[in-house]
């Protein structure tokens, strides 16, 4: 099976249907008798709704119904929730304000849904939405996190807009270390706000069957069971057992399709309101800009204390995080447990303290976006360390090397709660420096200078916590759900294998990777394995895909279900081979009596399980096993990225010349899929560094509401990446030794790019480092010599 088993770069199974137009996305689904919904959204960042005249829309031909927040409230629909409790340092709970599915009395960001218009056709629904008369009384708005504390209140009962004032680490130990430090390096920086921009916009079709009293929701979701849970337990759209959520092919998520949004609740509820006709909604791209949860948006002050030799003594971090107008599903955890816990990075900094204050503003809610907290932590550390190296005249690779957690120190307990299990940071650094020809850089810089270009090199040594998450750890830190994963292996009479997973693939290639796993584990042909996901009616209850968890957690559940298949198969084989079960060994799809040539293939054993002519006593027929896996720890992928840029000093344009990524993902199942994941992550990380940034004006209008103004990275903005995944240090957290690879690129890339740019022009520029920002920095820079 090695040909298409673990470690083989098998082309992705799913790609044929995607590239030939045979994918089946939510918008491709049309149900009989379907209606169309258009949401009427607030044009103001903050306003009181003084009047809604439903009749104005109901008079439009084809309009079937108009529903408002009052209707939803009258029907007992609950609030959308934030499912992770974060407590302030004074012990008080975070201030989670109500988040109605349709605004009631007040709107709090441009795009806040005010009403839904349902009509026979999409065109008529648009006409109705346009005709709906809504009157507003505008209120002052606050958009920037820096002004939130003293700004107008987004929610009247949340003083200073302060959601929580949270801390992690030992403040006293940090203060003591700073007091004796030979050097303190300080940096203030902005984590720019990003718009996720999945290729497929969000869509939902809600449908109610009056006969069975069941609701079905087709949806762009990364985690259909989480949607079902929240929509039933909190929003009260339907009882959990009467709600089926189907996430068919989904065209990218990057976090933005984890969350439980207003629209999917409304269309499901509305279908029953209009007598059971299905209600379909698909957002426009401009709605996606306004309404899909954004990412990042921090303002941070970071201080690093060092001794005279450049050893890190302590790190102190103060961050203000903008969570937007409402708390989205996991928003509270992103700037806290997914951020401050990573502030040790790859280093043995003995004392770390972080204080994070999260604020409401009149902007789109902010939640997890590829990396979620970890890019923010990695950027902070890696740019701050570069600054320390420059100020102290130490080579930037050397200062990192001096402070790495040594490879013989694992498991390593950080001062910020996590226990790293494996790693060899010096090995990935060495490999990356060698591949990037770090030593040869001065010659390349000199050559660029002769062409009038400024050349810089940047290093970023990132770490992330993936495989989210050990349930007990997560729950003890405030998570409202367990974060295990499930799998079911269902074999058929003819020896084919169906893998039902609670994880969800929306671009990751699970159908391929999981098939390889099962093919290798059970010794069946890769082509005989089918992966099924995304339907609460058929798959076991699962927690979905985010936090680079599908393989490390979901994959392990699959392995364990396979173990049960093999164990049962051994009983049946022993019976058929008239041997003791203890004498049966299993290898490459064959059950064999040890030391003999007596054997049965797994297909023969599976057939026997379904056609039990001769069968062991006390063994159930059938070959269908399930497993749940709750990981004992996170996994800790880490690596080194080296980026080289050239800057045109006349225009400030930054061009990425080379980018080397050396990642330790542990064991790699499909190197091609992994490489693709890294490429995508790097593109998004480079996008954050140089191109992407959501901008609001002071009144709360999103100025970057389309691709005319929001710059997504394109192929010609990116170099040809050099991506390597060895040497790796497999984790023991799962039997495969895999760590997860989905987010690494987005986590490690921004600092590599910005460090290279800083090296080129002598001054750090805030992200996105647009040509004008770079040009201005060059004009004001005193060009101190970078330490070499």
């Amino acid at each position: 099976m090695a040909e298409k088993g673990i470690g083989a770069a098998v082309p992705r199974k799913e790609d044929h249907r995607f590239v030939t137009g045979h994918g089946r996305y939510t918008d491709d689904i049309n149900l009989p008798n379907q209606t169309h919904a258009v949401f009427v959204r607030s044009p103001h960042a903050h306003a009181r709704i003084t009047r809604i005249d439903k009749e104005s829309a109901l008079a439009v031909p084809g309009v079937i119904a108009v529903f408002t927040g009052a209707d939803a409230q009258a029907d007992g629909l609950g609030s959308l929730i934030c499912g992770w409790m974060v407590r302030s340092r004074d012990g008080s709970d975070m201030k989670a304000a109500p988040h109605p599915v349709l605004a009631v009395d007040r709107v709090r960001y441009v795009g806040d849904p005010v009403a839904v218009v349902i009509a026979e056709t999409l065109q008529q629904a648009r006409d109705g939405a346009e005709a709906l008369e809504v009157e507003y009384e505008e209120l002052p708005a606050v958009t920037s996190v820096d002004r939130a504390h003293d700004g107008p209140l987004v929610h009247d009962d949340v003083p200073n807009n302060l959601i929580y004032d949270w801390e992690l680490g030992d403040a006293a130990a940090v203060d003591a270390a700073f007091a004796k430090a030979a050097r303190v390096v300080t940096q203030e920086h902005v984590q720019n706000r990003l718009v996720p921009n999945a290729l497929e916009p969000r869509a939902a079709i809600g449908s109610y069957d009056a006969g069975s009293e069941e609701f079905t929701l087709y949806l762009t979701s990364q985690n259909p069971h989480v949607h079902r849970l929240v929509m039933s337990a909190f929003v009260a759209v339907a009882p959990e057992h009467k709600l089926r959520v189907v996430a068919p092919d989904v065209g990218g998520g990057f976090g933005s399709k984890i969350f439980i949004y207003n629209e999917e609740c409304v269309v499901t509820w509305a279908s029953r309101k209009i007598g059971g006709r299905p209600v379909k909604w698909r957002e426009e791209r401009s709605e996606a800009f306004l309404c899909d949860c954004h990412g990042r948006d921090h303002v941070t002050k970071a201080e690093l204390a060092l001794d005279a030799e450049g050893n890190f003594l302590a790190l102190r971090v103060t961050t203000k995080a903008n969570l937007g107008a409402y708390m989205s599903t996991f928003s509270s955890a992103v700037p806290t447990y997914l951020y401050a816990t990573l502030l040790a990075g790859q280093y043995r900094t003995p004392a770390i303290y972080a204080n994070v204050r999260a604020y409401y503003t009149n902007t789109t809610p902010v939640d997890a976006y590829r990396g979620a907290g970890r890019p923010e932590a990695s950027f902070l550390l890696e740019t701050l360390i570069d600054k320390a190296a420059r100020e102290m005249g130490i080579d930037r690779a050397e200062i990192r090397r001096r402070n790495f957690i040594p490879k013989d120190a694992f498991p390593y307990q950080t001062p910020v709660a996590l226990t790293y299990d494996t790693g060899d940071y010096e090995a990935t650094l060495d490999r990356a420096l060698e591949l990037a020809d770090y030593k040869g850089f001065p010659a390349r810089k000199a050559e660029a200078e002769r062409r009038g270009k400024l050349r810089g090199i940047g290093i970023s040594c990132y770490i992330e916590a993936c495989g989210i998450a050990p349930s007990q750890v997560a729950i003890s830190l405030g998570a409202g759900v367990g974060l295990w994963e499930s799998a079911r292996i269902r074999c058929t009479h003819t020896g084919k294998v169906q893998v039902l997973t609670g994880a969800h693939s929306h671009g990751q290639g699970h159908e391929t990777t999981f098939s390889q796993l099962v093919a290798e584990k059970l010794g069946v042909p890769y082509e005989d394995v089918e992966v099924i996901h995304g339907d609460t009616a058929s798959t076991p209850i699962g927690m979905g895909t985010y936090g680079s968890r599908s393989l490390a957690v979901g994959g392990e559940a699959i392995m364990r279900a396979c173990d049960k298949i093999i164990a049962k198969g051994a009983k049946i084989a022993a019976h058929l081979l008239e041997a003791s079960e203890a004498d049966i060994e299993f290898e490459a799809g064959v059950f064999r009596v040890k030391g003999t040539d007596k054997q049965k293939t797994i297909q023969e054993v599976i057939f026997t399980a379904y056609v039990p002519a001769s069968y062991p006593e006390g063994v159930e027929p059938g070959m269908d096993e399930s497993a749940f896996f709750d990981p004992p720890n996170f996994t800790y992928p880490a690596g080194t990225y080296v980026c080289e840029v050239e800057v045109d000093p006349e225009t400030g344009t930054v061009s990425i010349e080379t980018f080397v990524a050396v990642d330790d993902f542990g064991r790699v199942i499909n190197p091609m899929v992994v490489e693709g994941q890294v490429h995508g992550g790097l593109a998004q990380g480079i996008g954050q560094a140089l191109l992407e940034g959501a901008v609001y004006d002071d009144s709360g209008q999103l100025l970057t509401g389309s691709y005319m103004d929001y710059c997504m990275p394109r192929a010609d903005d990116l170099p040809s990446f050099e991506v390597h995944t060895s040497p790796g240090t497999p984790t023991a957290t799962n039997s495969m030794g895999v760590k997860g690879c989905g987010e690494a690129g987005a986590i490690g890339a921004p600092a590599a790019v910005i460090n290279a740019l800083t090296d080129a022009i002598g001054q750090r520029v805030e992200m996105p480092a647009t040509p004008e920002r770079v040009w201005r920095a060059i004009r004001t820079s005193s060009m101190p010599q970078a330490a070499e």
Binding site: Q123, R126, E130, S286, E650, T651, L691, V695, L703, T704, Y707, M708, D709, Y710, C711, M712, D717, T770, P771, E772, W775, R776
Partner: protein, 264 residues
């Protein structure tokens, strides 16, 4: 999109008649600005007169030593044209920088100049080369054609049929694109012609304009260094989240210098 009546005339006369007969009729050329505008319901024409089937509006030919390009000729055709490459290579280069492949395959010369987006590339080419716009009614000098932001000298019932470009001695276009839209933050078209040096700037102001101070300096010495001493004022230049007026003023000089260098 709102409903509208769709027409696809075969002749210019028919198109002119349709335009005159329907008060809220609009012309559709490549649709690269207009279709998105319609989709967002930002325009509500009663009738759409699609010019794509009118053969006489499309094509590239040499005329009087210069070039005449039909109004519905797409950018990609201009960029790839051997005739354009030979007679005014700078114009082919300019067309090659417009939008992306899809835009260049559909977007047209006439559509672009009639829309007169302040950041479009073609207006700089027309003004820089001293081109003449031919319409269903008359001929208009390029400088008189572009009258303001999204405004032209065209009458309601007037259709651009072609543009005539005289052959310059030397010319080149240098563009600093908006990284997001790839429109020009600043685009400078420089030409040395029998009538003197012309420098046309797009993207920087509300409408394409000639940079007289640069023209004067380059008339004295058509060399990149000649640009150095010129001071370009930021007064009246565009300012947005992508570029300040000051940065645009700086870029005008840089792009002018690069265009002169490219013109050789």
């Amino acid at each position: 999109m709102y409903n509208f009546a769709y027409h696809r005339p075969r002749t210019l006369a028919e198109a002119t008649q349709l335009l005159a007969a329907n008060e809220d009729a609009k012309l559709l050329a490549g649709g690269q600005t207009f279709i998105p505008t319609l989709k967002q319901r930002l325009a509500q024409p009663s009738d759409l007169v699609d010019l794509s089937a009118i053969a006489e509006l499309r094509g590239i030919r040499e005329e009087g030593g210069g070039l005449t390009i039909g109004a519905t000729t797409p950018h990609a055709e201009v960029a790839a044209s051997e005739v354009v490459r030979r007679v005014v290579p700078a114009l082919a280069d300019l067309a090659e920088t417009i939008g992306d492949t899809q835009v260049r395959n559909l977007g047209t010369l006439g559509g672009s100049i009639s829309n007169n987006d302040p950041a479009a590339d073609y207006p700089a080419g027309l003004v820089g080369l001293g081109a003449t716009v031919r319409t269903s009614k008359r001929e208009i000098a390029a400088e008189d054609f572009f009258t303001g932001m999204f405004e032209t000298a065209l009458a309601e019932d007037e259709i651009v049929t072609a543009v005539h470009f005289p052959k310059p001695e030397k010319a080149a276009y240098a563009k600093f694109p908006n990284p997001a839209s790839r429109y020009a933050i600043v685009g400078v078209f420089v030409a040395r012609t029998a009538g003197g040096v012309r420098v046309a700037v797009t993207g920087a102001g509300p409408c394409v304009f000639r940079a007289r101070e640069l023209e004067n300096a380059l008339s004295a010495d058509f060399a990149p260094e000649a640009v150095e001493g010129v001071s370009v004022s930021a007064d009246g230049l565009n300012e947005d989240i992508h570029a300040s007026a000051e940065y645009r003023a700086h870029l005008i000089k840089v792009m002018a210098k690069r265009a002169v260098a490219a013109a050789g």
